[in-house]
Amino acid sequence: MSDLASGRVAHAAQAAFRVLVVDDDPDMAGFLALLLAQQGMHADIAADGHVALEMIAAAPPDLVLLDVQMPGPSGFDICRRLKSEDSTALLPVVLITALEDHESRVRGIEAGADDFLSKPVQREELLARVKTLRRLHETRKELEGRRLAAEVQAKEAIRKAFSRYLSPRLAERVLRESPDGEAVFRNLSERTAVVALFADLRGFTRLSETVPVSRIVPMLNEFFTELTAAAHDHEGTVFSMAGDSLLVGFNVPVPQDDAMTRAVTTARAMIERFAPVAARWKREHGLAAGIGILASVLHQSPASTAHSTCH
């Protein structure tokens, strides 16, 4: 048996188009492999169906040239199997049948073959069919790549939009649990006890009168950065940021059994985070700023409303 018939016809190119030739006749397999190698493709040979399936599972090729009549599983069996499995369903399969064998062609179509090649094999026919399938395969790969990239991009956009209001951990969970962006919000029509935390800046009116507007905006940004970070650390959802006030919700959009505890802890963290900022403002602008915080359970009967304030 020649090297071609018994083993591999390697091609130097790393990203060569890989074809698996499955034929129990070593002369036929060697002939096909040689023609493919001459076109710069990488051809492997499998002498029977079992070996072919093992090789495909280990390293899926870009195309399979499959003889119909072989001992063990026939070309039809292998084709059917490849087409029925998700991982190989898109792998193009060319069935090699005798020229006049119309019955085999019909069976091949039923088995899901992508194309047919007649025996005896004409070089031009082989190369034309392989080139067409190669082009199709590459287009399909490119489209799949673009689709994946678009999906990642869309997800990233959603993540960014979410991250302004949700903690990164919560945004990740929303994306993970609702790939269609729906599941997590499906129960929004239900009544939920939301714990709302309202925080604002004491002394803001005075601040706006004494400090130029161009400096107020960076100061407010500083204030909101600290408070939002505290809210996100405890997986709170920012409902609104307006003027000098911040409204944060707990127990939404995902249930949090310890919502009130989270709100109180968040309030403490906000005060702690804001303290050095307030001290600096006092030094730099002579301002006595503080924050007022109210946490309260909403959407329940008034009797059960709980609230606590601290500053």
Partner: protein, 101 residues
């Protein structure tokens, strides 16, 4: 039967494959004879089918022609016809001369 050589032209790029190909054809004649002696028509049909496919692919037209006749003869159970075709195949292989182009 005359001992006149039969010239077959084969593509130059197949030259490396031909020695194995010819060796396998000689083995094929033996396999055909053994199958005929055993009356194994299915084996004869398969061997004929293989000859039909591989012969012309390499440029050996008569191998394909005889292959088809052997495949058909096996299906019909035509022992005398099969014997004659196998003898013709052995004679052809003995006389064939290959020219690479």
């Amino acid at each position: 039967m005359s001992a006149q050589p039969i010239v077959v032209t084969v593509a130059k790029d197949l030259e490396d494959l031909i020695p194995t190909f010819m060796k396998n054809r000689s083995k094929e004649v033996e396999a055909l004879r053994a199958a005929l002696a055993a009356g194994n028509m299915e084996q004869l049909r398969q061997l004929g089918h293989r000859m039909k496919g591989v012969g012309n692919s390499y440029g050996f037209e008569l191998v394909s022609t005889l292959g088809k006749q052997i495949e058909d003869g096996a299906k019909a159970g035509d022992r005398a016809g099969l014997e004659a075709r196998i003898a013709e195949y052995a004679d052809y292989l003995a006389r064939v001369q290959i020219v690479y182009e």
